[in-house]
Symmetry: C2
Subunit: 281 residues, 2 copies
């Protein structure tokens, strides 16, 4: 397999989306923004033996998860995904069959959200490296940020937690994120666990939070997992009491030392996943 | 060193650019495009032992080169860089001092081009992984593409070639690219060597090319290196005979089998760098 063949395979599978003037095959992709829209950008690494193991997921699942990580960030902004760039370094074991299956999984999720693969980079490495950048769009000034939570706001999660080992077919909350635009005061993706991510949301907003009930959790997940595990592909968000939003109420935003979080009346220190602690703390 | 500290260090060093509504620290960066502009996007991997070796470059040089690779693609479109996202997976040997120096080199080049680091991702890995996505802007419909070369056009390179082992301080041709807008009929970055990249430009444009003089080369570079080595950070472009553009004339575009290239009257097969041949062919 050579680079030109791989690029030709990708081009053949590329889909077109409004605004994408030029996709795979030139030095850059060209996108023509619509007036009245802001663009949002995120990128997420997906690394062998860090974010997935070859032995425990199919290439289709790996491809889907590589895209889902970034899509969840787009959902958290209330945006709609438009296109992605996929950087991929393939190890010797990743043959054409594996590559095709990986892209099949990735493109299936891309199609579900009507987004294009507009470009990327190809290289080789000892372990598989994938980095997915997504560009999304949202009405001007309407993106959901982390820094808008205010004392008195209600705190929500979008679904059951504790699922990082369970979800082989993640469904990023794009539709929900779009519904929250103009309603939620703050939102973020639950990527590193509720305790750490809620701490971050509170820090960004300069507020404290109290979680006053057990968060909903996936079948088989313990309370510890629901509080501290990451990669849930769910959203954490706040809205004023008088604004109706979908989701599970788990507490409220309060005045207090920025970043302080309590759970059932006791302090809940941030214990989620930090990539530089080398393991779960 | 932990993730939050690293992100805080990056935020402190972040610069602001027009249109960047929100940079490092949320789920996504937010960018507000200007009317009448197209946006261009590229991403390039920069991998330890593939694109650089720890022993033979300083961290500042590595950081600069990680960004320069993508900047060269932006130059090839005739665009101005606006912001980048930097994904980085650090091995155990990359301590805070190394990280700071790597970013110093990257940010120095970013400042020279008035662009911001708007976000990215951090993780860890056995070998250093870096992926740099850049968003640039160009007047609507004016981006330089590979597919516009026509028989009779003159063929140019922007500078001396054969430098992939020599250039520790690459200077992407952003200023030149902008000058070519509205003048060049096609342009691309010389990333994989003249013979392979010219072949690609001709394929995209459905034309052939003849190189009728030796290309300019860097001191110490052989003719073979000038024809086949990559990572020159120079541009390859074409323009009609009656249009004046800066650069070195090396030949012309002719009718013929798409992709066919000749050098001093003999066929020049594409021999540049293919990432999946595992070595230079």
């Amino acid at each position: 397999v050579n680079e030109r063949e791989l690029v030709a395979r990708l081009r053949a599978k590329a889909t077109s989306v409004p605004g994408l003037v030029l996709g795979i095959g030139d030095d850059c992709a060209i996108f023509r923004p619509r007036a009245g829209q802001d663009l949002v950008f995120t990128t997420d690494l997906f690394l062998e033996d860090i974010h997935f193991r070859r032995a425990s997921s199919t290439p289709e699942q790996a491809g889907r998860r590589a895209l889902a990580r970034s899509l969840s960030d787009i959902a958290a902004m209330g945006a709609s995904p438009r296109f992605c760039l996929v950087s991929l370094a393939l190890p010797a074991w990743a043959d054409t069959k594996w590559f095709d299956a990986f892209y099949r999984g990735l493109l299936q999720l891309a199609r579900e959200h009507r987004m294009a693969v507009a470009g990327g980079d190809l290289s080789h490495a000892e372990k598989l490296v994938c980095d997915v950048m997504i560009c999304g769009s949202v009405a001007k000034g309407k993106a959901l940020r982390r820094d808008g939570a205010a004392p008195g706001d209600v705190l929500y999660v979008s679904g059951p937690l504790g699922g990082w080992t369970h979800k082989e077919m993640p469904e990023p909350r794009i539709a929900l994120g779009r519904k929250l635009v103009g309603k939620a005061s703050a939102a973020m993706d639950l990527s590193d666990g509720l305790s750490l991510d809620l701490h971050r949301l509170c820090l960004a907003s300069g507020v404290a939070a109290k979680v006053d009930c057990e968060p909903p959790r996936l079948p088989g997940a313990t309370l510890e997992q629901a509080l501290h595990d990451g990669e849930d592909y769910e959203l954490l968000y706040t809205a004023p009491e008088n604004v109706s939003v979908p989701g599970f109420r788990i507490g409220s935003i309060v005045r207090g030392r920025p970043g302080r979080v309590s759970f059932l009346g006791k302090p809940l220190p941030p214990q989620g996943y930090d990539h530089f602690s080398r393991n779960r703390s």
